[in-house]
C-alpha cells in the first residue's frame, strides 16, 4: 500500500535571500500510511505548523516534494482530498451550525437535499444533533470545535489535517474531545496528521509521535505508540506514562541541544 502522505526532503525558507531569512524546515522526510494517526510535537518555532501547511499546500515548500494520496500536494488541495481544522474553530457567524458543516459541500456543488442529509449525519457523529439551527456563537468552545471537525469530515476526506484543534480548550473539555476524535477516527476511514503542544495529548491520540526540533525545524526522533484501542483508563496505564516520559525526554534533549 502506498503512503497517504509522502514528504521528501522538504525545506522551507521564509523571506529567502533577505536579512530576515528564516529556515523554518530543513530536509524533512516523512511517510504517513493510510489510517495512521500521526502527531507532530515540538517547541515553538520547530516548524510543525509550517509542515502541516506545506502538506495542505497552503504554503509552498522551498525545496523537496510532497505527495498526498498519490498526487502533488497542490493537486490534492484542488481535489479537496483533505479536511482541515485549526486551533480557532473558525466557524462563520452568519451561517447556522448545519450550514457551516454544509459549506464545503456547497462549494463542491452538492445538491441541497444531499447537503442537508449529510449535515444531519455529521451532527449525529459529533453528538450535536439538536444544534443544527443554532448560531455558532451560541455554542461553547468545545461544541464549536466539534462542529469544525464535523465540517472537516463532511465530505469524507481520506486525510484530516489538524493544527492544535484543542489548544484553546480547558483540560476537561480537551480530554473529552480527544476521546471523541478517536471514536470518529476509528469509525471513519481517515488518516490524521495532528499538530500539538501537549505531550499527553500526542501520546493518547497517536499511533506515532514525530518529535521536531527548532531552528531549523527538523525531525529529531519518532516514537511509535502501541497502546491499542484507548479509553479513559488508558490515561492511568503505566504503558501510557512510560511513553509520555519517553516523548518528554526526547523533547528535553531537543531543547537542550537547541540551547
Amino acid at each position: 500500500m502506498s503512503s497517504r502522505v509522502e514528504v521528501a526532503g522538504v525545506s522551507k525558507l521564509f523571506n529567502a535571500g533577505r536579512p530576515n531569512e528564516v529556515q523554518a524546515l530543513s530536509h524533512i522526510t516523512l511517510a504517513i500510511e493510510a489510517n495512521e494517526f500521526v502527531s507532530l510535537i515540538g517547541p515553538s518555532g520547530c516548524g510543525k505548523s509550517t509542515l502541516l501547511r506545506c502538506i495542505a499546500a497552503l504554503t509552498d515548500a522551498t525545496e523537496g516534494s510532497i505527495t498526498v494520496a498519490g498526487k502533488s500536494a497542490e493537486q490534492a488541495r484542488v481535489d479537496q482530498d483533505y479536511g482541515m481544522a485549526f486551533q480557532k474553530a473558525g466557524l462563520f457567524d452568519w451561517r447556522t451550525v448545519a450550514k457551516n458543516i454544509e459549506l464545503p459541500l456547497e462549494l463542491m456543488g452538492w445538491k441541497k437535499a444531499d447537503r442537508a442529509r449529510r449535515a444531519t449525519e455529521m451532527l449525529r457523529l459529533v453528538q450535536l444533533d439538536e444544534f443544527g439551527d443554532h448560531r455558532p456563537a451560541e455554542l461553547s468552545g468545545g461544541m464549536q470545535q466539534r462542529v469544525a471537525i464535523a465540517r472537516a469530515l463532511s465530505f469524507e476526506p481520506s486525510l484530516l489535517l489538524m493544527d492544535e484543534p484543542f489548544g484553546a480548550l480547558d483540560e476537561m473539555t480537551r480530554e473529552h474531545m480527544q476521546a471523541e476524535l478517536l471514536r470518529i477516527w476509528r469509525s471513519t476511514d481517515t488518516t490524521v496528521v495532528f499538530v500539538t503542544h501537549s505531550i499527553p495529548e500526542a501520546v493518547f491520540l497517536s499511533t506515532r509521535v514525530i518529535v521536531m526540533s527548532p531552528r531549523p525545524g527538523r525531525i529529531a526522533t519518532e516514537i511509535r505508540v502501541d497502546l491499542g484501542d484507548r479509553d479513559d483508563d488508558t490515561r492511568q496505564d503505566p504503558a501510557f506514562f512510560k511513553l509520555v516520559t519517553e516523548v518528554r525526554e526526547a523533547l528535553r534533549s531537543v531543547e537542550d541541544s537547541a540551547g
Binding site: Q80, F86, W94
Partner: protein, 259 residues
Amino acid sequence: MSFLHRTQNWSAPAIAGLLIAGVWEAALRITNPDFFILPAPSAIVASFFATFADVWEATRNTGYIVISGLIAGVIFGVIAALLVTRFRAANDTITPLAAAINAIPIIALAPIFNAWYGITSARSNQAVVMVLVFFPIFVNTARGLTEVESDQIELMRSYAASEWTITKEVRIPNALPFFFTALKLVSSVAVIAAIVAEYFGGRVDALGPLIIQNASSTRFDDAWAAVVAGSMLGLSLFGLASALEYLAMPWQRDLRGDS
C-alpha cells in the same frame, strides 16, 4: 427581540429631550424677555405647522440632495473598497487618493462645484454630499473586507475556493457590521453637508436657503422650524440605516435575542 423592541432604549433620551424643551419654554415664559432671538419651543412648533407647506417642500428638496448624494457615495465607496481588497494595484492607487480627498475641507468645495454646475443646480450639492459620504464608507468597508480571521481564509483555500467565492462567503458578510456603522454615521453627516452646501448655492426652495432667509429677516421661529425639519430628516435616515442593518444581519439579531 424585534427591531421596534430596540427602540425601547430611545425612551430615556426622548423624555430628557422633552424635559429640556419644558425648562426652555418655562424659562422664557417666566422671564419673558424682550428679545425674540431664541423662540420658545411652542413658537417653533406653531411655526412648523403654520409654514408646513414651505418646510415640507424644502425638506423634500434637501432630502433629494441628501439621499441621491448618499446613494452615490455609498456605491462608489463600496466599489472602491472591493477593488482595493481585491487588487493590490487598486489599493496602491485608490487608498492614498482617497486619503488625499478626505483631507480636503469638502464643504469648501461647494462654491467651486457651484461654479462648475451653475449656481442653482442641485448637482454641486449632491457632489458635496457624495464626496463626504464616500470616505467613511470606503475606509470602514475596506477594513471589514480585510480584517478576516486568517484561519477562515486558509480554510476556504483548503476547499480550493476562488478569490471571488472567498469574497462572497467570508469577506462581505464580515464587512457588513463595519459598513453599517459607517452608513449610520454618514446618514446624519449627509444632512449637515447638504444644508451647509445649500448656504452657498443650489435650489432656493431647500432647507439651507430657508434657514438663511428666515434668520436674516429675524423670523427665528421659522428658521428653527426648518432646523427641526433637518433634524427629522437626519433621524429618519439614521433609523432607516439601523433598520437595514437589522434586516441584513439576522445572525446578530439571533445573538441579541438569546443572550
